[in-house]
Symmetry: C2
Subunit: 307 residues, 2 copies
């Protein structure tokens, strides 16, 4: 397939790697003409890291399948699928989708990487709105495979299915979201857990590091290879319904204390920031991010070998 | 140290392995005289699995450090630390803690494995209530290292600290919970996420398998080695406070739709059960539990090598 990447920042670069790793031809374009050349350098660095981690076989071939384009017209020419990866600004999405819909061949799928703006907010008035949808990655998608796929009410079901197939074809793990909703699924789940986490620290039950230990040495282990529903399905003799009926009262009772809809207070934000800075001083943030990326690579390699 | 395990069911057996693996002498007792012999057989099987996974070095020595006792008096004789692991029934906890407090040497720590009953509910009237507390494991603790440590208001701070040291000394990951609360930290976090997960499926946004994919191929990856606070600390240029301020509005807005305190309805329970059974038929639950345990072992070995 021919893939077009619109926007060559961190997200666009990572998508280029995903699609080229999957064997497709990838063209990149950016509104800033100097950005594409810079992106090519950064892509080579990331591909070298992936090779070192044993996660790709043919780095030379992968990189040869990625090329830059000077104009939006060029990048869309002959494209089967477009992955738009511009900043999270509604006006920018509106403008680029109007242009892409006008320029791209009529069968081309137009997907946005947005994590926060529903497709209906920037595609409603377009003649080709039925071919527009969200394909929301987690950064970096070449290590974190989930892709949330969510159309507007007018998105063609075949476009949703073809996008799902494209993602599965390159080794991503697509998820269909059947109706638009704020934050999609991943950030809503993260938000629900974070809200309780902030509350427990605010009220002095546990400190930030204790809470992180509870997740990374406990709750997060099963979730990293099963997810929450399979976890509870296997945690009662007779499966999920058995579990839900056994623990419904306990979780319902806890939920009555989990109803706050206040923004996080400056007090709890500063308390958490201060606790984090005792664990990790600010000047070590960058080094720790590199550590995180190495750990994500090692985890990806582990999961590949365990499956 | 001399460790006493009171209750030789699945939880007691797993604790015996943890303490014996850590080099301690472990004595087990159970109210059912035949149970201890059966437990010894099951422990040997689990230790063989751990050896096969490369997670223990000296299975023969480990098993030699575990012995059974015929009476409660015997198991408590000379014990430095007691891990009570009886069923989750308040009356049973009250009765056994009264007996243990009467029989155990005065310096012995009396810890309960309970996941749902606060220590104050079964230790208030005891002369030795200051030495009683909760040390709540996740099953099986030899693979999932977190231990939630939570005293009653009258628990001696030194007893909390010594329990923390005992757990750290045997390779567990203890977390101090500073005040009693229902469900401790782990199950409260799980409850917050499950509530949103049930809601998203009930309202038709996503199906059970899609939600599990979102976690196991996305959200759960970082959490399996960092926890939620470190995750967000590394996800904004300037750290946790920067992240919290950038996304406060988004998460606050989502939270207004996450306030249900209703029990899970039979309708959503049956919907989820039905979706799970298409992914995993009921007659494969047992085989899948064995798969899960192998994956947990492989993940534990991976984390050990990555640290």
């Amino acid at each position: 397939m021919n893939i077009a990447i619109v926007g060559s920042g961190l997200v666009g670069q990572a998508w280029a790697i995903v699609f080229a790793r999957g064997g497709h031809h990838v063209k990149m374009w950016d509104g800033d003409p100097s950005a594409v050349a810079g992106a090519a350098t950064l892509i080579k660095k990331q591909v070298a890291d992936l090779q070192a981690a044993g996660l790709i076989d043919d780095p030379v071939g992968l990189i040869a399948r990625i090329s830059g384009c000077a104009t939006l017209e060029d990048v869309l020419l002959g494209a089967d699928y477009v992955q738009e990866s511009l900043p999270e600004r509604l006006e920018m999405k509106k403008e680029i989708f109007a242009k892409m819909d006008a320029l791209a061949p009529s069968a081309t799928i137009l997907a946005s990487s947005t994590s926060s703006i529903p497709a209906s907010a920037f595609t409603e008035g377009l003649p080709g709105r039925a071919r527009c949808l969200i394909a929301h990655p987690v950064n970096p998608p070449y290590l974190v495979p989930v892709v949330e796929i969510c159309g507007a009410p007018w998105t063609d079901a075949q476009v949703v299915q073809r996008t799902w197939d494209v993602m599965e074809g390159v080794g991503q793990k697509p998820v269909k979201i059947h109706r638009e909703l704020k934050g999609f699924v991943l950030n809503r789940l993260q938000g629900a857990l974070l809200r309780e986490a902030f509350r427990l620290v605010e009220q002095g039950y546990v400190d930030a590091e204790g809470l992180d230990v509870t997740v990374r040495e406990g709750l997060g282990l099963r979730w990293s290879f099963m997810g929450p529903f399979e976890t509870i399905d296997l945690n009662a003799p007779d499966g999920l319904a058995d579990y839900a009926r056994r623990f419904n009262d306990m979780y319902q009772s806890i939920s009555t204390e989990q109803t706050s809809t206040e923004p996080w207070s400056e007090a709890v934000i500063e308390k958490l920031e201060s606790q984090r800075r005792t664990v990790l001083p600010k000047d070590q943030l960058l080094a720790r991010r590199l550590w995180r990326d190495r750990r994500l690579m090692a985890l990806a390699a582990h999961k590949k070998s365990a499956e």
